[in-house]
C-alpha cells in the first residue's frame, strides 16, 4: 500500500518563526499539508523545493537524496514541479510558450506528454493566448499543465485555489480530482480549506506553529476525536463509497459505503462510480430509538465508540461505528447526559445531509 517514500526533515529558524518537522510521507497519492495561515505549510513546501536555503535540512524521495547536511541539490536540478498560489505564468510567453518552457529543459522519455497535460486540464483552445488574456481559473489550469509537462517525480501545489473566487474554484476542482485519479506521482498539496482536503487528499499532515501536530491516512485521521487541532464547524468524516442506485422518480442516488448506505441528491454520476462522501458532524444527530415520522431519510444503526469534548464547552463529539465505518456526530453535552450515551451502546444516527464528491 502506501510505502513511505518521501522523507523530509527540516529545522530552520527565521526571525519570529521556526519550522521543525521530521516527516515520512507516502510516495503515492495526494498528501495534504493542512493548517491555518502562518502554520508553516508553505514554508515547508518551499524547503522541499529548495526555494529556501536550509543548511541542516534533509530531503529524499524514493531513496534519492535532494539534500542533507553535506549535500544540496539546487531547485532547478530537483525533479519536481511547483504550482504557486498565483498562477505566475511568464507574461512574455504565450500559453504554449509557458507549457514548453519547462518541457524543453528536461531530457529523456516523457511519461506525461504535453498533449496529455493539455487534454487533462482542458486548455487546448487557449494555447495561442497571452496570459493577460486568460481568466484567473484558466491561468491556474495552464500553470498546473505547465507543471505536469516537466514530468515531475513530485508535484508540489501551494494553495492553487486560494486566490480564486468560489466560481473559479468550482471550475478547477474537477480537474484536480482528475489529477488525483490519474497521476501516479505523489502530490503535496498545501491547503487551509477542509473542503479541498476532504475532496482531494489521501493523507493529511496537520501543521501548527511550524510543526506537524497530526498525520495519517485522511479517512482515519478525520474520524479521530483527539485531534490536536480543531476543525470547528468543519469537523466530520469522509467515507469511500460507490454509487449503487439512482432513483429517477425522486432524483436521488444511493451510495454504499462499508457498513451502510446513504441517499443523496442525484448529481448525475453513473452507478458503479467510486465517490467520496463527506458527512459533517453537525449534520449527524443521534437517538437511542429508531425514529419514525421524520423528514430525515438517512437513518443508520450503529454502535457508540467514543465520546469527546468539542471546541465549545457545551458541545460533544460522539464517534459511532456503522459497520466498519466511523461517523462523528455533534451534540450538546446535555444531550449526551440526558440520553445516557455511553461507549458500546447501540444507537441510531440521523444524517441530515451529505456532500458527494467525485
Amino acid at each position: 500500500m502506501n510505502m513511505v517514500e518521501i522523507k523530509a526533515k527540516f529545522h530552520v529558524t527565521w526571525p519570529g518563526f521556526s519550522l521543525d518537522v521530521d516527516l515520512a510521507l507516502p510516495g503515492r497519492g495526494v498528501t495534504a499539508l493542512f493548517g491555518h495561515s502562518g502554520s508553516g505549510k508553505t514554508t515547508l513546501l518551499r524547503c522541499i523545493a529548495g526555494l529556501e536555503r536550509t543548511p541542516h535540512g534533509r530531503m529524499s524521495i524514493n531513496g534519492d537524496v535532494w539534500q542533507r547536511e553535506d549535500f544540496w541539490l539546487p531547485t532547478h536540478k530537483r525533479p519536481l514541479a511547483y504550482v504557486f498560489q498565483e498562477a505566475s505564468l511568464f507574461p512574455h510567453l504565450s500559453v504554449m510558450g509557458n507549457l514548453r518552457y519547462g518541457m524543453r529543459r528536461i531530457a529523456g522519455n516523457h511519461k506525461f506528454s504535453l498533449e496529455q497535460a493539455i487534454e487533462l486540464l482542458g486548455i487546448g483552445h487557449l494555447l495561442e493566448r497571452k496570459p493577460d488574456r486568460l481568466s484567473g481559473g484558466e491561468r491556474q489550469r495552464v500553470a498546473i499543465a505547465r507543471a505536469l509537462a516537466v514530468n515531475p517525480r513530485l508535484l508540489l501545489m501551494d494553495e492553487p485555489l486560494a486566490a480564486l473566487d468560489l466560481k473559479r474554484k468550482q471550475e478547477i476542482l474537477p480537474y484536480l480530482e482528475r489529477l488525483h485519479d490519474e497521476l501516479e506521482i505523489p502530490v503535496l498539496y498545501v491547503s487551509h480549506s477542509p473542503d479541498e482536503v476532504a475532496r482531494l487528499a489521501d493523507y493529511i499532515v496537520a501543521m501548527e506553529d511550524g510543526r506537524a501536530v497530526a498525520q495519517g491516512p485522511l479517512l482515519e485521521t478525520l474520524a479521530r476525536l483527539d485531534l490536536p487541532f480543531q476543525l470547528g464547524e468543519d469537523a466530520g468524516v469522509v467515507l469511500d463509497a460507490v454509487v449503487a442506485e439512482r432513483d429517477s422518480e425522486w432524483h436521488l442516488a444511493r451510495v454504499d459505503f462499508n457498513g451502510g448506505s446513504l441517499w443523496t441528491r442525484d448529481q448525475g454520476l453513473e452507478t458503479g462510480r467510486r465517490v467520496r462522501v463527506r458527512v459533517l458532524a453537525r449534520d449527524v444527530s443521534l437517538s437511542t430509538q429508531e425514529q419514525e415520522n421524520t423528514s430525515i431519510q438517512n437513518i443508520l444503526p450503529g454502535r457508540v465508540d467514543a465520546i469527546a469534548d468539542d471546541h465549545h464547552p457545551g458541545l460533544a463529539l460522539v464517534r459511532v461505528y456503522v459497520g466498519s465505518s466511523a461517523l462523528v456526530a455533534r451534540m450538546t453535552q446535555r444531550a449526551v447526559a440526558v440520553l445516557g450515551v455511553t461507549p458500546g451502546q447501540m444507537v441510531w444516527l440521523q444524517v441530515k445531509s451529505v456532500a458527494l464528491m467525485e
Binding site: L51, P74, T75, L80, F84, F90, Y101, G102, R105
Partner: protein
C-alpha cells in the same frame, strides 16, 4: 543650415563615443544592477552610493581624479604603460573610460529598478521548471526587463553625448580624437563663430528633445503592457 567638416567630424566622434560607452555599460552595468537589485548584503548601500556619485559630483572633480589615476603617476597609468598601451588621457579610449564612469548611474539605476520590479517569483518559477539561474536570466529576466534595458541604453547614450566637463579634463580638444560636439560648440563660441555654434547647438537640441520625447511617450505604453 550648414555644418562644416570639422562639425561633422565632431558629431561622428560623439556618436562613436556614445555608442561604445553604451555597449560597454550594458556589459558592465547589468551585473552591477542585478547584484544591487537582489543582494541583501550591508554593503549594498555604499556600493549603490558610489555608483550614484557621478550624478552629484561636478564633472570636473570626476575628471580630475580620473586624470590623476590614468596619468603617468596613477595606478591605472602604471598598468596601461606596463601593458604597452601607453597613457590614456588625451586619447579617445581615455575618453571612453572616463565616460563609462561618468554615465554609470544612468545605466545601472533604470536597470536596477527594472530588475527589482520583476521580483523573486518569476525566477523561482523558472527554477522549478529546470532553468539554471543563468538560463533564467536570459529567458525570463531579459525579456521582462527589456523596457528597462531600452530606457537605460537611451539615457546612457544621451548622457554621454551631453558630456562636457569630463571631456575637457580628460580628453582636451584634439580634432578627430577627443573633440566631441559639446567641445566643438565651446570652440565656436570662443572663436566668436556664432553662426556655426547656432547650427551645431540646434542639432544637439533637436537630438536631446527627440530622445526625451521617445522615453516619455513610450513609458505609459510600457505600463499598460
Amino acid at each position: 543650415m550648414h555644418l562644416s567638416d570639422s562639425d561633422l567630424q565632431a558629431i561622428w566622434l560623439t556618436i562613436r563615443l556614445a555608442s561604445i560607452v553604451t555597449l560597454i555599460l550594458l556589459l558592465v552595468g547589468t551585473p552591477i544592477a542585478w547584484w544591487l537589485a537582489r543582494t541583501k548584503a550591508w554593503w549594498k548601500g555604499p556600493i549603490g552610493a558610489v555608483v550614484a556619485l557621478p550624478l552629484v559630483l561636478p564633472p570636473s572633480v570626476l575628471g580630475f581624479y580620473l586624470l590623476l589615476g590614468m596619468g603617468p603617476n596613477g595606478p591605472v597609468g602604471h598598468l596601461t604603460e606596463a601593458l604597452g598601451i601607453g597613457l590614456l588621457p588625451f586619447t579617445f579610449w581615455g575618453l571612453v573610460v572616463a565616460s563609462v564612469f561618468y554615465s554609470l548611474p544612468f545605466m545601472v539605476q533604470p536597470l536596477q529598478s527594472a530588475f527589482e520590479s520583476i521580483g523573486e517569483r518569476p525566477l523561482e518559477v523558472a527554477a522549478t521548471l529546470r532553468a539554471s539561474p543563468l538560463d533564467a536570466f536570459f529567458t525570463v529576466v531579459v525579456p521582462l526587463a527589456w523596457p528597462g534595458f531600452l530606457s537605460a541604453s537611451i539615457l546612457t547614450f544621451a548622457h554621454t553625448v551631453g558630456e562636457f566637463g569630463v571631456v575637457l579634463m580628460i580628453g582636451g580638444n584634439i580634432p578627430g580624437e577627443t573633440r566631441v560636439a559639446s567641445v566643438q560648440i565651446y570652440d565656436h563660441v570662443e572663436a566668436l563663430e556664432y553662426m556655426q555654434a547656432h547650427n551645431l547647438s540646434a542639432v544637439m537640441l533637436v537630438f536631446s528633445f527627440v530622445v526625451l520625447l521617445t522615453i516619455y511617450v513610450w513609458r505609459p505604453a510600457r505600463r499598460a503592457a
